[in-house]
């Protein structure tokens, strides 16, 4: 349950000066209420309206109100220069794939960069105060509007201006708005009288505060949120560290300074200019159109009716409007989606059918579909590369990762093309059957076969049928996959009142003395807490230690907050002497460091897009799940293994450090979070010299040489976009390889050849088997044709109940193949090593209620055998000793058939 926003608004409106009035407004600004929307706002002019569309229209298109005209990159440079001159630290953007905060797949706002989970609380940790960041964000809730409204994006840069105010550190509302106002008026030269500040509030799960959104010429340029209270309006406290979260769209600043028809023209720069060569683009027309299209919101209105209204206003038919705008909207959409995909892939995201990857695939397929639909003569890959080149001065990581972007988009495009033909057939069948395509059916078609609504619309048009794309389709499908990332479920134990356990397990302590300080009974088992322990609890995919407390076995160790509990076979009290199973610990440790070594090797062999998606380390083997689009080839696996063993041979030092989180992130970047979000203010950082750095709280060797060796046992794709590498390290690797050698020796013994000749001999045997099989099938056919068959007629039907000597099931099947027809019933028995029973029931017999599977099952069971099958076919066997009873069996079958046919 979050804070009730209406209660916050009511509370603040009782005293607006306290919550919204900033020092800037002392200088002749007035508070007014917009007659159209009812919102309160601050202005220095005589305007009556708040400035937020649709209360006012865009008035900057074609006539920018700024004194500077800047492209996307220069728009940021101007902002960065201003804030740095005013005491801010400019920091590099964080990845768009959010691995450091639980519950989010993507970075959706600049404030997310600094959100961390400590215990059960969300805290803000900033590397500098105050700071600014050009944070690239991904959002998928506006997909229907992208390319159409002129202002919606799936990928945008949020200019994050952040300050934590503690009285003597950072700054608060007055300074924030003062700076933002100066940026607008002095740096960009926007006339002061055109600016309005609209009052609003922000309320999170357990915090709230006021906010001021600022507008000029009908365009929202930024929103400053001032979080200052903890609790609810009914019961709250003032925060000691107040947070300023000012987010402004860089896209909007570039746009207002250029006054182009859409934000896309201003933001995508040379990329969109090139794409426009593929469509009939009339800037004068688009300027007129965009002023009206800005009010389109496909979430709230029906797109077609909005276009009908606009067409009327422009004095043209809706068909003419569609003809002129649809291709341009398509290139805007493709351009946006290509940019979002380039950022996502560069930051380690992969299109897939699960989680956040699902949303990436949605926009990827949408873009490919539009290219197809309009027969554009360009590739999505090329558009992504053009973005990377254009954005290089601001976001160099795009061009640095261009190989991964290329490879992944290529693989995805191939997948898309291979499903397209099949999808077309499915849609045609569906459309000709005149079935109603419900929204549920659309989602099912999309999820199971990748059939987009655009493809259905295209084929419907070819078939002369009506089909309208539901406006909110993509919002619905993406929302289904944006539900919070599920945290691993673990049983909950109340450890309140137990002091934190001192951890000795990082110090290679094999034996230790401690005192039992608490006992808990969980599901009938006894668990004890010690004042200190060298037992490593299960964590980070590493299995727990085992050992002894005095002479009592410890068979499980788990961590609950700061308390470590040990499951003991018998209750134990007082002073204890602990002893760790050191062989087990050594293997777990070797496997854990080996996981990091392999992770580093995977990035070097498969590409920089590789991230850890999960891991488990036991004593006999371990696995590392990585993000990758296909199962690696044999050569790639060999390379990964070779490189990993080279790192072991090089005896690289493995350093474990405890660093303040901000320091660790500054030093090593966000790649630290390979294993996902890590709670706490301090991070355990594991650094394998010049190879791999990750936040990791596991136990590790001090030098890679201690791992001994690594052997990759298997690789498999465990889900779309995730590959599992199973391997063994140390003595387990040797054991696994020795076991494989034993298997080979066993095979060689069976074949009676030396080890080296096993594959050749196997090949020969397979060839021999194939040849014999072919010969046998031919012989069966020939023999079956010469059989004398006693087919009987009962009414209009034919019945064959017959025994064949030296016949097995294959032979009976062959006879059946030659004889089966709708009006025939065959009950065949073959006598060889056992009695084989085969029953074939023609469809006319099935209609009479004769069930072959049932007949065989019952009769075989009666004679000590077994069998069954569907109504049209039954198969079974009976022990050979029952041979004398076959005649009786035939009589039973015949009686059953006659009874049924005569009764019909």
């Amino acid at each position: 349950m979050g804070v009730d926003k209406s209660n916050v608004m009511r509370m603040f409106r009782k005293n607006p000066d306290r919550y919204w009035k900033v020092s800037l407004f002392e200088d002749g600004w007035k508070r007014k209420q917009c007659p159209k929307c009812g919102k309160f706002f601050w202005t220095k002019s005589n305007t009556e309206y708040c400035g937020d569309p649709p209360c006012v229209e865009y008035s900057f298109l074609g006539k920018p109100p700024t004194k500077i005209n800047v492209d996307y990159i220069k728009a940021w440079r101007a902002i960065e220069k201003f804030f740095v001159e005013h005491g801010h630290t400019s920091i590099a953007r964080y990845p768009v794939i959010c691995r450091w905060f639980p519950g989010l797949y993507f970075t959706v706002a600049s404030i997310v960069d600094f959100q961390r989970s400590v215990g059960n609380k969300t805290v803000f940790e900033m590397p500098a105060n105050p700071l600014i960041v050009p944070q690239v964000c991904l959002r998928f809730n506006d997909i229907p509007n992208i390319g159409i409204s002129g202002r919606h994006f799936s990928c945008f840069t949020m200019i994050g201006q952040h300050s934590i105010y503690e009285g003597n550190k950072g700054y608060w509302k007055d300074r924030c708005i003062e700076l933002d106002h100066e940026l607008l008026t002095k740096v960009y030269g926007i006339p002061e009288e055109s600016i309005t500040y609209v009052e609003d509030i922000w309320a999170g799960p357990n915090a709230f505060g006021s906010s001021l959104e600022y507008y000029s010429h009908g365009l929202e340029l930024g929103n400053a949120v001032f979080t200052e209270f903890l609790g609810t309006p009914e019961k709250f406290t003032e925060m000691e560290q107040k947070v300023i979260d000012m987010g402004a769209g860089l896209e909007r600043f570039a746009w207002i300074s250029q006054g182009t028809p859409t934000a896309y023209d201003a933001v995508f720069g040379p990329v969109i200019e090139d794409m426009k060569k593929h469509v009939d683009y009339d800037q004068t027309f688009y300027l007129k159109y965009s002023k009206l299209a800005g009010a389109i919101n496909a979430d709230e209105h029906d797109l077609l009716s909005s276009k009908q209204t606009i067409a009327k206003q422009l004095g043209i038919s809706v068909e003419e409007l569609q003809k002129r705008t649809a291709p341009v909207e398509a290139i805007y959409t493709i351009c946006d989606h290509a940019r979002a995909l380039a950022f996502a892939i560069a930051d380690g995201g992969l299109p897939s059918n699960v989680g956040g990857g699902y949303n990436l695939r949605v926009i990827l397929r949408r873009a490919l579909n539009l290219i197809n639909q309009h027969s554009f003569d360009f590739q999505l890959i090329d558009i992504a590369e053009k973005h990377a080149r254009y954005l290089k001065p601001l976001y160099p990581s795009l061009i640095e990762n261009i190989d991964s972007i290329h490879k992944i988009l290529e693989v995805e495009e191939k997948k898309y093309r291979s499903t397209l033909q099949r999808a077309r057939r499915t849609v045609r069948t569906l459309l000709t059957s005149n079935q109603k395509i419900t929204e549920e059916k659309l989602v099912q078609l999309y999820e199971s076969q990748g059939i987009t609504p655009e493809l259905i619309a295209e084929i419907a048009a070819e078939e002369g049928k009506q089909f309208e794309i539901p406006p909110n389709f993509y919002v619905k499908v993406t929302e289904r996959h944006m539900k919070e990332k599920k945290e691993e479920e673990k049983f909950v134990v109340d450890v309140s009142g137990i002091p934190p356990t001192k951890k000795l397990y990082y110090e290679d302590v094999k034996e230790f003395d401690a005192t039992v300080i608490a006992e808990r009974e969980i599901n009938g088992k006894t668990w004890v807490a010690l004042d200190q322990t060298a037992f490593y609890p299960e964590s980070g995919g590493q299995e727990h230690d085992t050992g002894y407390l005095n002479n009592i076995r410890v068979n499980n160790v788990q961590k609950f907050g700061d308390v470590i509990l040990h499951r003991v076979e018998q209750p134990v009290k007082g002073k204890v002497h602990g002893k760790i199973d050191w062989d087990r610990r050594t293997l777990l440790t070797q496997h854990h460091t080996a996981t990091h070594v392999i992770n580093g090797a995977c990035r070097r062999v498969l590409g920089k897009h590789v991230y850890q998606a999960g891991a488990h380390k036991s004593t006999s083997k371990a696995h590392l799940d990585i993000t990758h689009y296909e199962n690696p080839s044999k050569e790639e696996v060999e390379k990964i293994e070779r490189l990993s063993n080279k790192v072991i041979q090089e005896a690289r030092p493995v350093k474990r450090m405890i660093l303040p989180r901000t320091e660790a992130e500054r030093r090593y970047g966000m790649r630290l979070y390979q294993g996902g979000a890590v709670p706490g203010k301090e991070l355990f950082v594991l650094d394998i010299t010049d190879w791999d750095v990750e936040a990791c709280g596991g136990t590790h060797v001090k030098n890679t040489k201690e791992i001994g060796m690594i052997t990759i046992l298997n690789t498999e794709k465990i889900q779309d976009g995730v590959v599992r590498i199973t391997f063994a390290a140390g003595s387990s690797a040797e054991k696994a390889l020795l076991h494989r050698k034993e298997l080979l020796e066993e095979a060689a013994k069976i074949l009676n050849v030396p080890l080296e000749e096993v594959p050749q001999k196997t090949k020969e045997l397979i060839e021999q088997w194939k040849k014999i099989k072919k010969e046998l099938e031919m012989l069966r056919k020939q023999k079956a044709k010469t059989e004398r068959l006693n087919i009987e007629r009962i009414k209009d039907y034919e019945v064959l109940i017959q025994k064949f000597d030296n016949a097995n099931m294959h032979y009976l099947r062959e006879i059946s193949r030659q004889l089966t027809s709708d009006k025939r019933f065959l009950f065949l028995v073959g006598i060889s090593d056992r009695i084989y029973v085969f029953c074939s029931v023609g469809s006319e017999f099935v209609k009479q209620g004769i069930n072959g599977g049932q007949i065989v099952a019952e009769l075989c069971k009666k004679l000590g055998g077994g069998g069954g099958g569907p109504p049209h076919k039954g198969e079974g066997t009976i022990p050979i000793q029952r041979k004398p009873q076959i005649e009786q069996l035939f009589k039973d079958v015949k009686r059953r058939i006659e009874r049924r046919l005569i009764a019909s």
């Binding site: 052997t711 020795l738 298997l743």
Partner: protein
């Protein structure tokens, strides 16, 4: 035994498993089954002739 030597034998085993289209653990069993099947088929051919 040396790592490279063990890897060499592993490679031979994997090649055999791929020929038989079975997981490596199933190689001996699968070979036995193949030999038995060849024998049975030969007998059946004899009987049919």
């Amino acid at each position: 035994m040396k790592f490279d030597e063990l890897k060499h034998y592993e490679k031979i085993l994997i090649e055999t498993a791929e020929l038989l289209e079975v997981p490596i653990e199933h190689v001996p069993f699968s070979l036995k089954k193949l030999i038995k099947d060849i024998k049975q088929k030969k007998e059946e051919i004899g009987a049919l002739r």
